[in-house]
Symmetry: C2
Subunit: 410 residues, 2 copies
């Protein structure tokens, strides 16, 4: 008789976005014609740029001719893309990363979900709180979470690192008796928009090397960094090659959320119990994955072309103008708001006394604006709302004006 | 201190294709200018057809315009593709499968590797022998294999179902004391090219329902079926909705090995320990996967258009002519050869006394043709060689002529 993976059944149903969708649906049904602006989901809205669509068309034509047709891609990625990534994202920034330390994939969500598989079940993981839910959920599914406590919203075996206003929404080095074996860090941070300066990140690298922990560094929002002392890669820190895996995405810089391309960096110096994680991840790719599509790897390559770089800079600039407008507008209206400088997310404190969901409801009802309740990302997110900068410029301004006007009435 | 997944280290290194590549390299170095024909790897060679490249170009254009740009795809696939699949591959054949029982993915390799994750570690799995290595390797990585026995080439906890000449290279219902909980079946079969008639497949469905086992039915080569009593889907059998998962691919019918698209079917009636596997797989997709690219789902849809269906039929016809030529040519030259009628693989018996690798070496040396040693797919593959029909027509004929001439000298 077959048996299911019982760890799957421990998962709380992901009510966050479905609850949001239901509330919006109900509001719309009760208020036909309401002009609702959505700043909730972190999905891009601007089209692919000409350098990228040009590369896609060219690659499609190649696939239509026998002489240039491509079958199975190399499991770990085409050399042309691995080289473009290693050159531009790493070596140009002084990071010592070889072409073949880049593992191309279909996106950062897959990689950040799958990476835990190369580790034993008996690892203690640590996550920021609030946090991108994939880190926690995939470890629950793998049996590393222990028991869920409804009263705290926490799993018994997971180390939570609260990201609060008093610490700039950045996790602090664990002080408790539990030393985490695997530490998930995400900078620039989703959902808080916080960043970390190089000195602070160096402390994490030193901590990991000292305790033989592994850092899984999610840098999916790296392109949004605007300040000079914020590291673009964990490999800017000394010693990161022996303790850190870095995960990156083309989704948020080049608008690839619906195109699917990302990569993971595992330096060959990173060993756990004497085994190179590089080899384990290569084995996983070889066994359970068949490479990213040729045409999409060509699109990724185009992101690093001269035209592509300029276009992508403009794309990020567009969203960052939105972020800046949201941040400044809300602050001048009297709100406490964070993030938005090195990240496309604004972390908005709810007006006094309101819970995340109460403020969500108020915004929907009174301003017809949809955000994401911070409590959906972890218990320390209670009392906040996440707004994203990925919308249309005029609509985003309209949303900010409405939220600002709302402040005058509260 | 971090710990690795020790089950990963149990895996035998996949020497098969790397050993083949090394032997060919060495032969070429020693014999410059040798005209080598590769019938080893199961990768397609014909270009994408016009209906498919047309759909890709159109979708790329949509992605380049703000009004038609698509961000994140639905995790489980776009409705237009799920409907096209359910209509054409199932309901038109009388199989009762709903649109939303189709889970679109980046390919059958990923799905057949990931599907084991929704089952507990304590399941006994059964596989054909020889077999597509992904089924075994992913269960080794998940800790279900037990210990490897070098002398037999088998894992202690896996039930092997020998596929031999006397049983038409189809596995027989397990007779031993170990009742498997999860049964992998692949028809048309890779590597033997064998098929199963509907009556025989019905026995497997009945067995699974009786023992509450789950069948994972890999039908990646379904498009190559040419005989009328061979089922195209396991859902043609009564009762399959309560015991079977089916995995399909666009790789081998539409030439998508480098495009990446496949799907898994899980009927909502399939429950294990009272839990719908449908819900577990949906949860996996939602947590660890972000959907197949929009442009590629549109290409998949085009496969089912009127023009696409005709083009794909021609494509399969091209390869099946190769298969037929190989099968007939080798038989008339005195070889024992199997498969090739409902599958793009020919399972060639080595001349008396030769092992798989000895015959591989002989073919490489004397005919400059590369096959795949059958022993690489499992112990019962010893004494066979797999040839594929995915090559160029003229080169394939040339290879057959050379192998035939070789017979005369042996």
């Amino acid at each position: 008789m077959a048996k299911i993976n019982k760890d799957y059944t421990k998962l709380k149903s992901s009510y966050l976005f479905s609850t949001i969708a239901r509330k919006v649906r109900e509001y719309e049904a009760a208020n036909p014609g309401a002009d609702i602006i959505r700043l909730g989901i972190g999905d891009v809205t601007r089209p692919l740029t000409p350098a990228i669509t040009g590369a896609l068309h060219k690659a499609v034509d190649e696939m239509g001719e026998a002489a240039t047709f491509k079958g199975y891609a190399p499991d770990l990625g085409y050399d042309f893309l691995r080289k473009a990534i290693a050159d531009n994202d790493y070596r140009k920034r002084g990071c010592d990363i070889a072409d073949d330390e880049i593992f191309v994939s279909d996106g950062a969500k897959s990689d950040s979900g799958n990476i835990q598989e190369i580790f034993g079940r008996d690892n203690v993981i640590a996550v920021g709180d609030p946090v991108y839910p994939v880190y926690v959920d995939t470890n629950v599914m793998a049996g590393r979470s222990g028991v869920y406590d409804e009263s705290t919203g926490m799993w018994s075996d997971i180390v939570y690192m609260p990201c609060l206003e008093e610490n700039g929404f950045a996790p602090q080095l664990p002080q408790g008796e539990k030393i985490p074996d695997i530490i998930y860090l995400c900078f620039p941070n989703n959902p808080t928009g916080a960043t970390i300066c190089k000195n602070e990140l160096q402390k994490w690298v030193d901590y990991a090397n000292e305790h033989e922990s592994v850092i899984i560094y999610d840098a999916a929002y790296e392109a949004y960094i605007s300040e000079s002392d914020v590291p673009h890669s964990i490999y800017e820190c000394d010693g990161a090659r022996t303790c850190a895996i870095e995960i990156r995405s083309f989704s948020k810089n080049a608008g690839f959320t619906g195109v699917r391309l990302g990569f993971t960096v595992i330096p060959k110096d990173l060993k756990v119990e004497g085994v190179r994680l590089y080899d384990l991840w290569a084995r996983r790719h070889g066994t359970k994955y068949n490479g990213a599509p040729y045409i999409i790897q060509r699109a990724g390559e185009a992101v690093y072309s001269e035209a592509g770089r300029a276009e992508v800079r403009d794309l990020v600039g567009y969203y960052m103008e939105n972020a800046s407008y949201i941040l400044k507008g809300l602050k001048s209206a009297g709100y406490s708001a964070f993030g938005g400088v090195n990240a496309p997310y604004i972390w908005l404190k709810t007006p006094e006394g309101l819970s995340s969901w109460e403020f969500f409801d108020e915004l929907l009802r009174e301003a017809n604006v949809v955000g994401t309740p911070g409590c959906g990302f972890g218990p320390s997110g209670e009392g906040y709302l996440r707004l994203t900068a990925f919308g249309d410029k005029d609509r985003t301004k309209e949303a900010v004006d409405r939220i600002s006007n709302l402040a005058k009435t509260m």
